[in-house]
Amino acid sequence: MACKRSGVQFPSAPPFVFGGLNYHGSMPAVTVVMRTFERPVMLARAIASVQNQTFTDWELVVVNNGGDPAPVDSAVAVARQAQPSCSLRVIHLEDRFGMEEASNRALASCASEFFAIHDDDDSWREGFLGRAVEVARANVSAAAVVTGVTKIVETYRGGKVWPVAYENFYLDEGRLTYRGMIGNNTFPPIAALFRTRLLSEVGMFDSSLPVLGDWEFNLRAVNVGGFVYVNERLANYHTRTADSDRAAGNSITVGEDLHRDVKLRLQDRWLAEPSVNGVNKGLLSISAQALLDIDEIRRHGVANGGGEGVDGEHIAHRTAEIIALRKTWRRVARALRHPGHGVRAVKRLMRRVFGK
């Protein structure tokens, strides 16, 4: 199907299937998708985080994204001992795919009212699902519910994990609007509960993106119903310190360059899309990103070193690139409209390159 705003094609949710029956024989209210790859220690913790929920009408789908099946099966088997009646199934993918493809595989059979993406290194406070479902049901038009987040910085070494620090992840209602999110990915997936009907309305996650697929999906989703913010910190977003074992790193801290590249790719994709109501999604994203960076400086203060993380040079280069890109597009468009202008332009270019 095509995104309503950009026209880009995304796979739609498959037709309703009965793969997600829980042990009572009825549909669970929430499908929790947990993608994992070679982190059995954290996977065991993440499964326990779901099992600890006071809201119990859920099914958990663990997607082993091409990793060794044995440790995953073992962690799941141990978890089942603690809650034999819980609905917990595993999908072993034959190869390692992108995170979004892994999510799509699990969601392909999702028939629940809601779904959530619970990464294998994150965790929920026990009231997360209960509160999020309560708010989602009270706001029937909302596409998603997002709760407050605690960022936990931890060290993982030699199979052991211990906390180093934790802080409040900055989030407010403004950052959950389209304009609030277009500049940057403003919340981690662990904080959100989505309405499953979104998958048929805006399509699935974009499998072509190795990272930031959640951001791209959120931007499509927020246009069809808006996100409701619950100002209670019920989700824990875990990141590892630099001295942790590399396998334990989360995708942002380990792959900062990749995130930057994918973000540029996405912005380029949006720049090429036609404007809607005179607004180009790519341009809006870039200018919103600059505003967010300024906001970041204002909140943290330059004196506190808050400005150090803002790459002013990068922003300037990027703006110049966009201007150049837009100029080229304009020339191409003009050449198509007036072929004579195009021929003259090509002649000028050849004279410049090869001399008179």
Binding site: E154, K160, V164, E232
Partner: protein, 653 residues
């Protein structure tokens, strides 16, 4: 024994006027401290209006502080009003005018619902009125006199009229700073020589009125249940209600510290262990429930008593396991790592004691004390003997597990206090190995650390009061007070150190533990057993029942006692030592570390902190050091070093 009301009045025979404090002298509440009234409000707000009101109680405390700061900047002597407090609340949290009014009305109605007369206060004003004395209520409070009158009526003081009440928020000054006393004397035209004042605060009701020439009597017994005021949430209420009951019962006598500690916090924690098991039983088929020695001793006793009284509970075992036995039964070679686990860095051991520790005779050329390195070298030199002893121990251990049914096919719940799950994981592996997976084990712990994460791959674990998803601060707080809980939630016998050939558990006889149990533990355990049973049977006089217990309540109880102990609790356990050595021999470490040398300097504080964390009850020790003017600076500095040891543990959500 405290003076009776008549004796207090007889002490000042010339007095014709009795001025009397109101809160904690004439009336009290059915909770342990004033800020717990806000916790009751929060409970009702959340139940009626939703979880957005979570955290109300602590926000209300903060709002009062903010209002006082604002008021003091203009007029330092005056008290704030309830309206100013809720104005500060509204400014901080964006409440509407309607919400402010609603909250003020709710606070007043909650106070009226919880108010109770103090028996001494009733006797005092009755005797004074019988003697023809005029009685004036003088109170430092933010509520208007009209509300004080309503509360007095609700408590049975039906004679009180607004003319009989002088309250600080209406007279531009407080008892604490003397201004209210000036107003009382002027407005009521009192002859100070003919006035007796009775209250509960040394400064406001003693020093200040005495400076105006009034005779005074300070009686602070109703404050004995108070802890840090800033810690208030609905989760504190079960312990608060039980401690309020003890406060009222002992209002005319000595505070029974051991009984309060046992019947209050320890009983609630023991009851929590059982409630957790009951919850688990509802959702899965279980072959057996095993309370693990020694942390599960009290819970097992209560379980059996409940069964004897007709409760519908399955049989449960009291199972003698210990970390050291399981370690020793799994030694397959004596590597350097194993030697390090068996001998601590700071230990000095004899060859004989080291032999007892590993369960075999050791061949050594040296007699006399061994340093840690020498001891480890000796262990490695005797590796084959130790491995043989380990195999024998494993064989007996497995036989013991079979005898208690832990190797029977099915799922078994193991109940323990905490903390990392490593012992549970080791047991789970032994059970799995011996039964080829036919028997499985699940750990039900009261508290769990971050360290538990890797063990989750080997055994399902559940932390009732706390698990590894809680914040780092709470982990550190729990680490600071775990030795207290291990010392108080325990059995009359020592830790299991082995099994006889007929698989009977052999317990250590550690002198310091036996003495501590006789002096302190026994009384605490007796009160805990009785109180926990009553809570779970639904017959506790406080009204607290099993349905009031949750993980949050268990955590709050742990923090109320472990993180913000009262002085009497610290004194009570000051003679208790905590033994952690592998063989359970030696003198252990005192829960309350001795006062540091007067020569401690600031740069040594990190070392002091590490030592406390390693060996003692940190929060109890800090409270003890704080009570002495010469060492007070040390807790202050340590709390700067580790802010999680600041007294407030209930945070605004």
């Amino acid at each position: 024994m405290l003076l009776t009301a008549e004796q207090v009045l007889d002490g000042t025979p010339t007095a014709t006027v009795l001025t009397v404090d109101f809160f904690d002298t004439l009336i009290t509440r059915s909770v342990a401290q004033p800020t717990h009234v806000f916790a009751v409000m929060e409970q009702h707000l959340v139940a009626e209006l939703g979880s957005a009101w979570s955290g109300f109680a602590v926000k209300r405390v903060r709002a009062e502080h903010d209002a006082r700061v604002v008021a003091a900047s203009d007029e330092p002597m005056r008290d704030v009003t309830i309206d100013e407090i809720y104005l500060a609340f509204a400014q901080a949290h964006g409440s509407s005018m309607a919400e402010r009014r609603m909250l003020i009305e709710r606070e007043k109605s909650t106070e009226l619902a919880l108010v109770k007369p103090v028996a001494f206060g009733v006797a005092l004003v009755s005797a004074a009125r019988a003697r023809g004395m005029r009685v004036v209520i003088v109170s430092d409070n933010y509520m208007p006199a009209s509300h004080i009158v309503n509360m007095a009526h609700a408590a049975g003081y039906s004679w009180v009229t607004p003319d009989d009440v002088m309250v600080s928020c209406e007279h531009g000054g407080m008892k604490h700073n003397g201004e209210l006393w000036r107003a009382v004397i002027e407005e009521k035209s009192l002859d100070v020589a003919a006035v007796l004042h009775v209250g509960d605060d040394v400064l406001a009701d003693g020093t200040m009125p005495a400076s105006f020439g009034l005779a005074t009597n300070v009686r602070d017994v109703m404050r004995r249940s108070h802890r840090v005021m800033a810690n208030t949430s609905p989760a504190v209420l079960p312990l608060s209600r039980i401690e309020a009951l003890y406060r009222d019962r002992s209002a005319n006598g000595i505070w029974p510290s051991a009984e309060v500690l046992g019947g209050g916090a320890i009983a609630l924690l023991v009851a929590s262990q059982i409630v957790d098991v009951m919850n688990a039983l509802k959702s899965r088929g279980v072959r057996s429930v095993q309370f693990i020695a020694r942390d599960g001793y009290l819970a097992h006793q209560v379980w059996e008593k409940l069964r004897a009284s007709g409760a519908d509970l399955p049989p449960a075992s009291y199972t003698a396991l210990s970390r050291s036995v399981i370690w020793r039964s799994r030694i397959e070679n004596v590597s350097e790592e194993v030697a390090h686990r068996l001998v601590g860095d700071d230990e000095v051991l004899t060859v004989e004691r080291l032999g007892r520790r590993v369960g075999c005779e050791l061949q050594s050329a040296k007699s006399g004390p061994l340093t840690a390195d020498e001891a480890r070298a000796l262990l490695m030199a005797n590796g084959s003997h130790i491995v043989a002893a380990s195999r024998e121990l494993r064989s007996r251990f497995v036989s013991y597990l079979r005898s208690v049914g832990l190797l029977d096919e099915g799922h078994h719940l193991l109940v323990d206090l905490g903390w990392t799950g490593s012992t549970m994981a080791d047991v789970a592996e032994v059970v799995c190995e011996e039964t080829a997976g036919a028997a499985t084990v699940e750990g039900r712990l009261l508290g769990m650390y971050w360290d538990a994460v890797p063990h989750r791959q080997r055994v399902p674990l559940h932390g009732y009061a706390m698990n590894e998803f809680c914040g780092a601060d709470d982990n550190v707080r729990l680490l600071g007070c775990q030795s207290l809980f291990e010392s108080l939630i325990t059995a009359p016998h020592g830790s299991v150190v082995g099994y006889s050939p007929s698989t009977v558990p052999e317990f250590a006889h550690t002198a310091c533990e036996q003495r501590a149990y006789r002096e302190v533990g026994e009384a605490i355990a007796a009160a805990a057993l009785e109180s926990a049973f009553r809570i779970l049977a639904g017959t506790h006089e406080s009204g607290v029942t099993a349905s009031d217990i949750s993980g949050d309540v268990a955590w709050a109880t742990m923090m109320q006692l472990g993180h913000t102990p009262r002085r009497d609790e610290v004194e009570l356990v000051s003679s208790v030592s905590h033994v952690t050595s592998v063989d359970h021999e030696g003198d252990g470490e005192p829960l309350i570390a001795p006062m540091p040398s007067q020569f401690v300097v600031h740069s040594e504080l990190p070392e002091v902190y590490d030592s406390l964390m390693h060996a003692n009850w940190v929060q109890g020790t800090l409270a003890r050091w704080e009570s002495d003017a010469t060492t007070r600076w040390i807790p202050d500095e340590i709390r700067k070093l580790s802010p999680m040891f600041q007294p407030q543990w209930v945070q605004i959500p």
